[in-house]
């Protein structure tokens, strides 16, 4: 029998204060998809970064096709046929798709890039693997799903035989996830091996050939989807039973908290991204905004939270007009916001956990009195929140940047929910969280609801939407094209409307886009 494509033997990696990988062994054969599963901070990314030459292990060895190699650098990994798609994409935003894909392996003539050849190459592989992209688009302008394709194409362009995908589905819509899986299957059928890190158990069930579960830096089990179910996987990961369907009492709609009327908002390119949206959220209700990303959700939320100028319509929070107020007033008026991009918008990574905990409340009691910070109170509250939200950290003095991705998200949630808002706007609140943490967050959101708070949830996860929302608004091309009451619609129906299945709305919508474009000139 041929040796496995890649074999890891007793890989150990120590970070200051954290043993991230503890004698981890793993092997990977041609033609198989291995799912790597584990709680936040279990050490998955660390392990894969070792394989890709980004980190060097403190112990253990890596064998590629039976031969022990010391992977010194990503270049070396690439040469060995290893490709990796990082969760935080390794794309150079101002460059084009083609430039990003060929970067490092450019077709050149005497140092001058042969752009024609490069574009040709990109088209060719994008066609071969069914990953359609526009080679001349600037990466910055692409939606995340498209960016991920570029990432995969990058690896394939370099001739990867082993493809590592670190949480590839966290930012994708169900539609995009299905497309991704189709691509992954076709890749393994060509003899590639794929490592797939995810927190979504159904995905594991549907796509993986084998599942490896990590906890606290160690491999705690290995199984096959056919031999288990999601509950079993969850138990292996977390070490206890996880309740998937959260218990939800019937909605008791109180006062209207948020009223949006005919709201119009422009995007970065000054095109209308939100085109006259109206809806309300009342106390004790969770309203979900579902849609494929890039349909105006980001702009809508930024408008409500005071981060983006409104060009038309009005917004009221608890009856008070907030159409033209800044983020600060919105926060003061009782709004909390879990932003979708935690690194950019959610956290100041260089601040420690205490400083991150007070962001937004740094002028208010108990954190500040007359503009002077009270570190006693800050420490106290931070410690309490770290404990309440199970943020895994050695101390509240460390920088937010040294938390694992999932723990960073928990920190943001701890802050925003801890504020005790009247309205919570949560965008992708469980992105990157493990099942245990998701369960916890969902319960927190529902607790807010039963406390009579209003919640506006923006999510790509239909399951999350279905289990939390009292009402579901489908947003498509900047307009709300359909409204459902909880339990009324199947995932398929939601997906249908999310992708523009609303018939005439679709065509009228696109006409409007053109009118807008003309109006811009």
């Amino acid at each position: 029998m041929a040796p496995p494509l890649i074999e890891l033997r007793e890989i150990t990696k120590q970070f200051p204060g954290v043993l991230a990988n503890d004698k981890v062994s793993l092997s990977l054969k041609s033609g198989e998809i291995v799912a790597l599963l584990g709680e936040n901070g279990a050490g998955k990314s660390t392990l894969m970064n070792v394989v890709y030459g980004l980190l060097s292990a403190d112990g253990g060895e890596v064998l590629v096709e039976g031969e022990a190699v010391h992977i010194r650098s990503p270049r070396h990994a690439i040469d060995l046929g290893i490709g990796m798609v990082h969760q935080h994409f390794m794309l150079v935003a101002p460059l084009t798709v083609t430039e990003n894909i060929v970067l490092g392996n450019e077709p050149t003539r005497g140092g001058v890039i042969d752009f024609k050849q490069a574009r040709e190459d990109v088209r060719e592989i994008s066609h071969r693997y069914g990953l359609a992209v526009d080679p001349d688009a600037t990466v910055r302008d692409l939606p995340v799903g498209m960016q991920q394709r570029v990432e995969i194409l990058k690896a394939l362009y370099r001739g990867a035989r082993v493809l590592i995908l670190d949480e590839p589905t966290a930012v994708l819509t169900p539609q995009e996830v299905r497309e991704l899986f189709a691509v992954v299957r076709s890749l393994v059928s060509e003899g590639l091996a794929v490592v797939f890190i995810t927190h979504k158990l159904e995905e594991v069930m549907s796509v993986a050939d084998r599942v490896v579960v990590m906890r606290d830096g160690r491999v705690v089990g290995e199984t096959r989807p056919s031999d288990t179910d999601t509950a079993g996987l969850a138990k292996m990961m977390v070490g206890r039973e996880v309740v998937f369907r959260v218990e939800k009492s019937p909605s008791t709609c109180g006062d209207t908290i948020l009223e949006i009327e005919d709201l119009k908002v422009l995007d970065e390119r000054r095109l209308e991204a939100v085109k006259g949206v109206s809806f309300t959220v009342c106390a004790g209700e969770v309203v979900a905004l579902a849609g494929v990303s890039g349909n105006g959700q980001t702009e809508l939320i930024e408008a409500i939270t005071g981060l983006r100028k409104v060009t038309g319509g009005s917004m009221r929070l608890k009856g008070v007009d907030i159409t033209h107020t800044a983020a600060r007033e919105a926060i003061a008026a009782g709004l909390s916001h879990v932003p979708e991009d935690r690194h950019r918008r959610g956290l100041v990574l260089e601040f420690d956990l205490m400083e991150n905990t007070i962001l937004g409340d740094h002028r208010q009691a108990p954190f500040a009195k007359h503009g002077v910070l009270d570190f006693k109170a800050i420490t106290e509250v931070t410690r309490k929140r770290i404990a309440d939200y199970d943020v895994r950290t050695p101390s509240e003095h460390i920088k937010a940047s040294s938390l694992s991705g999932g723990n960073q998200q928990k920190l943001v949630l701890a802050r925003e929910l801890g504020r005790d808002p009247d309205l919570l706007i949560a965008a992708q609140p469980t992105r990157g969280l493990d099942v245990g943490a998701i369960e916890f967050v969902h319960n927190q959101i529902l607790a807010e609801r039963s406390n009579g708070k209003a919640v506006l949830l923006v999510s790509l996860e239909l399951e999350e939407v279905q289990s939390l929302a009292d009402r579901i608004l489908i947003i498509f091309e900047g307009q709300i094209v359909k409204e459902f009451v909880a339990g009324e619609a199947s995932d398929e129906e939601l997906g249908y409307y999310m992708t523009g299945g609303g018939g005439d709305k679709l065509s009228s919508g696109s006409e409007e886009v053109m009118t807008d474009a003309r109006a811009e000139d």
Partner: protein, 317 residues
Amino acid sequence: MLADIFTPDLFASAIRMATPLALAAIGGTICERSGIVNIALEGMMLFGAFMGVIGTMYTGSPWLGALIAMVSGMGLALVHAFASITLRTDQVVSGTAINILSLGLTGFLMEVIIGHPGTTDPVARLMPVFNINGPTEGVLGSVWRWVDTIVFSYTPIVYLAIIIAVVGQWALFRTRWGLRLRALGEHPRAADTVGISVIRGRYSAVIVSGALGGLAGANLTLEQVGSFTENMTNGRGFIALAANIFGRWTPAGSYLASLLFGFADALQIKLQLFRDVIKIPSQFFLMLPYVLTVIVLAGVVGRAVAPAAVGKPYEKG
């Protein structure tokens, strides 16, 4: 009055004064595109200016002098690279230290090598490249005067600067070197993950910027004036830094921004001719280039976005 101001020499003067700024600014562009801030351009220019003179003094050839100026600039750049890339020192700190070092070193070496402070004796200079005898009479004569002054009157490094701007612009957006450079400054980790050596790329960019800074100094001493005076760069390196930002981190933009500044300075000199007419103190003429820059920046240019990773030391696992 207008005919007195807009003489061919106004434009030639603008181009001459733009040259050292442009060379240093392009050096800054290349350096910052790789993700390293270079506020040491002033020091590199000053050191290049000095070593160019010393080199010419010892070799007798201003061409060799210019080469030595570039190598000296590269030497300081190597220090900057070592500090900011290898030691991951704050880049502004390292740049500031180099500026001070260069000021001290040139002053100290003046006393050690030349034997006195202040200014060196004149050395051989690089002379204008062309010397064409065109028509002098009539319409043709005056047309030729314009063409000769604006196109053919310069010394080699002035032309070289234009070539560097054009070629640099092309190379930044068309060659492998340029693509990788841009990637380094925007997202070094992305470059690293596709096997581009961040360290090597940044070292070479910093060293190239040192060579250009040295060349800018050589233009001052070996073309414009022929001798070295302590602190003779007079803040040009900082103006160049501004020109690089103004030119939005592109070689051609840096050149044009420098040209704008050079033009404002040349114009200011021309306007001084009319001190009897425009009765304002000389300081207000001297202020003009700076005021103009602020106005243009505020009114026309707007937001300048630096390469995303600029100034951040790159740490590898």
